[in-house]
């Protein structure tokens, strides 16, 4: 059973467009992370959110943690080809980390 549902599964956009991807669960997490993974590599941590309602910004990326700490979103402004990759969310429950299946983003020049 997948505890974290990510949507959309695939997203292909043109350079300069904005996008939002989602990570939803029925479970409460004490923290949630977003990772980006490129082909043939391990995931790389982008951000950790801990507090319900928390918003964090990383250049053109904005991350939000839901008030109930069950869901999160990642918004990218003016996407660039370098943003292409697999975006994974992961939630920390009772001492274990659960991953979603990811959103595969392609940004075309």
């Amino acid at each position: 059973t997948q505890l974290l549902e990510q949507s959309p599964q695939f997203l292909s956009i043109q350079e300069g467009e904005n996008l939002t991807v989602y990570c939803n669960s029925s479970s409460v997490f004490s923290s949630l992370q977003w990772y980006r993974q490129e082909p043939g590599e391990g995931p790389v941590l982008l951000v950790t959110v801990v507090t319900g309602g928390e918003v964090k910004k990383l250049k053109r990326l904005t991350f939000q943690f839901g008030d109930a700490r069950k869901d999160s979103s990642l918004h990218i402004t003016a996407a660039q080809p370098g943003d292409t990759g697999l975006y994974l969310c992961a939630g920390l429950g009772n001492n274990d980390m659960r991953f979603g299946a990811g959103t595969r983003l392609t940004v075309k020049p």
Binding site: Q33, G42, L45, L92, M97
Partner: protein, 112 residues
């Protein structure tokens, strides 16, 4: 930034062979993990360790075994590889209470 290394990066072997995937970290972290990831799929936890001489099985049933004799090393062994073991294996470590994982580059295993 964590330094975590996996070898080999790529491995193609025949059915029935014994293989060991190596994972080493230089951060002195107690917690280490092995995940299995098939293309387009989520990461599945197959083994974890919270310190020397501590190993546990994860959610995904796996025929592999692990050992943790030293803090730095967390090798994963398949005694008799099968085509169903073909996958990417990712090692990770964390040193924080919020579970931030630092991953190695992965070992892509193909069993013919």
């Amino acid at each position: 930034e964590a330094d975590i290394y996996q070898t080999p990066r790529y491995l193609v072997i025949g059915t029935g062979k014994k293989i060991t995937l190596e994972c080493s970290q230089t951060m002195g972290h107690d917690k280490m993990y092995w995940y299995q990831q098939d293309p387009g799929m989520e990461l599945h936890l197959i083994h974890y360790s919270y310190g020397v001489n501590s190993t546990e099985k994860g959610d995904l049933s796996s025929e592999s075994t692990v050992s943790r004799i030293r803090t730095e090393h967390f090798p994963l062994t398949l005694e008799s590889a099968r085509p169903s073991h073909t996958s990417q294996y990712l090692c990770a470590t964390t040193g924080t209470s919020v579970g931030e994982l630092f991953f190695g580059e992965g070992s892509r295993l193909t069993v013919l």
